[in-house]
Assembly symmetry: D2
Homo-oligomer: 346 residues x 4
């Protein structure tokens, strides 16, 4: 049994990680930290976990290292920069859900996050945590930088097309993404209040969202060269769920059926990815609470565009579930352990 | 491994039963019947169950009996009247989610359901399926009439008070219940359309809902005499969840603390029931997808009224989960088998 | 043209009052105050009012008095205690949406609101603002204490039954009310965040909500004696809307048809009240954005209970609309001026 | 006073037209037809219109012509093909909300709608009803083919950029649109049920939606040549509202500030269009119930893409409100008559 500590466990990504680990056959939760909720029973803050018998604690790095074989860092960016070096020095496997080690180039991080990167020496050892793309590197990894929610859905939607060389070279990819409100985190704010978010949809952070360079980095890594990507996130009135609608300008003619075949082949062995038949579009509802990704695709021949939609649960495949999946691979466990439960049917 | 067939598996209660059985350690789904969706893959209708590898079938009673040790009947009322006698004759354990065997008195059934009861001879052998109230009778039962969603929440909220003799004799109990839209089933209708149900709350079937006699029967059985109950259900704009707010006129003075203590004692050994501390009220969100019931209570001393709220997921503790829990007890399995997963945290 | 100043205009009740006054034929908005948003254009905070040409200001009492013939005080309790005496001294008609002058007895106010009442001398001159109950007193009133949202729906639901003497004397009335999230105001909080409130229903402030004494006061005034009322509010996942389900123990036998007739007669001349036919229940959706109240009723003969549901928009008939209606009467304008627009049909 | 008949008044677009006409100073509703609901009071079907005093009728073309100076046809496609020729022959001004006369080329209509166009001779006289684009032609028009909901938002978002020649010639425009569920109409269906649509977002009709050729036609008319447009609609869990996110590949470098200036100039005299300042994005909530369109824009310089979002209420500016606006212009009334009410503030 592997001992895990979830750091920043009272946030949405953290508590989702706790929830999944509570049902994990090979890992157990030895600590759930929270500065703000330390001392409270987990079930007092999240009654959904009634009976879990956990208490939020405010642990030092040494205490985390003493308790955990693995630490899941569900913390804001910059917090991982502080925690990761000593945890790694103490031999703890770090599964980082923050953005701190995702971007390969510290200068790009510093530019988009507007803060110095204080441990760039760890970047070469950090493995980007998106198993469907980087599985080979994850085995035995000791520092995993889990992919963000938007980049996960975008990369799953784009990878097969780029790998297959379908992309027209001189036109930008458009990623129009829609997220449930939990993507904005647990802290109350004017924009995430029920009355503000309900019965409304809007774009935000157009051309300026911090997931933009992460998507671009993944696309460039697959393509072998930079590809312009125009990414626009939207807030949708639902709690969970993320849909990325990706528009891939095609370099050559292609039918929907041919595209579907390329995608189905690419993901045929993936335990968490389903490619839908032609004409069927994924709904975020159908992945709610699960680690699955559902993909649908169609070719708009008049516009010579491949349109791929990818639905995930932003808190599972986009956060806690992906972290557990990456940890499973890194630690040599069954990749799907703790992640078998299907989504809620309605 | 016990073989189970879910009859009426394409409806919400049926598919929820299927979902839970897919994760059950000691039962497996050997058939999922649906007249309307026969021939379709389950995942084509419910993509949430992608990878389940099941197909809806239109099975005869003989085929059900040949495949199943136990049959879960998630069918409309009167359909169980047709299926149950031959299934029982063939030795199949019947877990009935319909209303057909809930009411002890066939005449009451006939009056409220406006149809003849064609197998009243089975009524004495049917055990009412609400383990927290009828557990002793469920062990070894071969025909279980699972409690309805509203009666489940109402009975859990009322039983401790009635058992403790808190009830004032000459005043009616009020049960004001609020249900998510899935309680109305899967068939499209004018009232369950998104635009009709969204951003709205309304009462329905005032003084005429068919769960009224079922609640009254349970209350009378506990009290030892008839107690007037005024039951009003409401439709609330959410998919799942049911909250019963129960108003119990008190025969004597009582503090909230004393009431909480009575309830906590009553349910201290129940695996699925949590009684909240004074001042904390349950939210339906916190039981979403789980078989748990959360109870909160307060005494209104000026009105001499005990107010108890009980939150359940109408499709789990109010339908499929309760059916699995009853089956576990009836078949001698661990009562919580297949029902361990916590609710979604958000 | 009457000049109006809305004080506390950036909150939900205040901005709703502004919205209604913008379409009023006989009143115009001469000021919209907000301490927090002073200096911002109204449409920058509420883009729905694009083109209104208003700016939030932080006005002194003297400035309010200099600009307004009438002041609408959409402020938290205790703030009206500060504003009202000088505004009245300056001859300004005060339409108070806060709770400060609703309770006739300063001691009751002080007990429930836990603060001293600093201008009890004004209480005898304050007219309770619920035109369907207190219209006769509102004409020419210079200080109107507009009824709260829950008390409004409750009083409209209960008044005809009490006036007609239907009430059984020794049993409490139960008021089980359901409100949209806007009732909690605009400030972000843990309980009104989208992810907390969505897909959930729960009770709150059981036996302790500050609208309890206000409901009791109105019921007692109509009945001529104290009547115990057990009031429980609930939070429902919708932005606007309030449904009060009222349970009236009957002293004598009564049919639904007889009850409907009593209610229809009572409200036959009311411009904003509709009593539905037997079997039809009001939905909050159908009064969204309008000043109307919809009533449905049924008698539960087995429980000898009259069940009345009343649907209003908590921000209109429960706040800004009622304030405008009261102002219209007080100022001698057409009662429905500015309030003619029907609700949104869907 | 102009007499209006609304044909197909029981559908969402029809009843919204009725709602707006009830508050119109210069038009009155002389008939509201519905085959399915004929004989029912309007308020029995739509209680929001309590007090309207209208009854749905099943009128013949002659009866419509006898009663109405103007007929609003809120009917499915092909139904207008039947109604319009005789109504025009009888001298009735036809404001058609259906798709039947929107496409200039009957062959394109026949190809996309898969049905013959039976009155192509009327096409040259039909004016496309999108006043911000076609106002000059609408004055005195006797047959107006009101723009569809998606084409309205798309055209408003795209027109200034195309008119200003910003468009890169060889790359497709992407229109990613999100609509509330009311866009699918009133008939119950599997996909518009509350439990299916709630807490979910999905694309539909990718590369095959019938609004595609309408958008292409408008874009081509403005550009002076065909422009490839890839249009993908999405269903979002809200009742009303439509957001079109439009991606315009830029032919030359441009700042957001320059783009905003071009848009602000273009729409400076438009009574219903607001262009937001840089950094502010429109929310569909803020146009709910109103005829307004809100536009926000940003340039993604790395991808050389102009991103424009346009929010409208699909049932008002996207249907009934636009019809009234077009009728006002066609009939020589004040363009904003009956459309002055602001959106609900929350």
């Amino acid at each position: 049994m592997i001992d895990a500590v979830v750091v920043g466990a009272a946030g949405y990504a953290g508590i989702e990680t706790v929830r999944l680990l509570l049902g994990h056959p090979d890992m157990r939760v030895r600590g759930a930290t929270s500065a703000g909720d330390a001392g409270k029973q987990v079930e007092a803050v999240y009654p959904a976990l009634a009976g879990a018998g956990l208490t939020f604690e405010d642990l030092t790095v040494d205490e985390i290292a003493a308790r955990g074989d693995v630490a899941f860092l569900a913390v804001p960016h910059t917090a991982s920069l502080v925690l990761t070096p000593p945890l790694r020095a103490a031999g703890v496997t770090v599964i980082d859900l923050s953005a701190d080690y995702r971007l390969r180039d510290a200068a790009v991080y510093e530019s988009w996050y507007d803060t110095p990167h204080t441990s760039p020496e760890l970047l070469p050892r950090a493995v980007y945590g998106l198993p469907e793309i980087t599985r080979a590197d994850l085995s035995g990894a000791t520092l995993v930088a889990c992919a963000g929610c938007y980049p996960t859905a975008s990369a799953l939607a784009l990878a097969p097309a780029i790998e297959a060389g379908l992309l027209r070279q001189d036109a930008p990819i458009v990623v129009d993404a829609k997220s449930g409100v939990s993507g904005a985190g647990r802290s109350p704010s004017a924009t995430t209040g029920f009355c503000a978010a309900n019965e409304s949809v809007r774009a935000y952070a157009i051309a300026s969202h911090r997931h933009t360079p992460e998507i671009a980095q993944t696309v460039a890594a697959i393509a072998g060269h930079d590809v312009p990507v125009c990414f626009t996130p939207h807030l949708v009135p639902m709690t969970r769920g993320l849909l990325a609608t990706c528009y891939v300008p095609l370099g050559a003619d292609l039918t929907t059926s041919e595209a579907a075949s390329i995608y189905a082949d690419r993901y045929s062995d993936e335990p968490f990815v389903t490619v839908f038949d032609q004409g069927v579009t994924p709904s975020t509802k159908d992945v709610r609470g699960s680690n699955r990704a559902h993909l649908g695709l169609a070719v708009d021949r008049a516009a010579r565009m491949l349109v791929v939609t990818c639905a995930i649960d932003n808190l599972v495949k986009g956060a806690g579930g992906q972290a557990v999946q990456c940890a499973n691979i890194a630690l040599g466990l069954r990749e799907t352990a703790g992640l078998d439960a299907p989504a809620q049917v309605v």
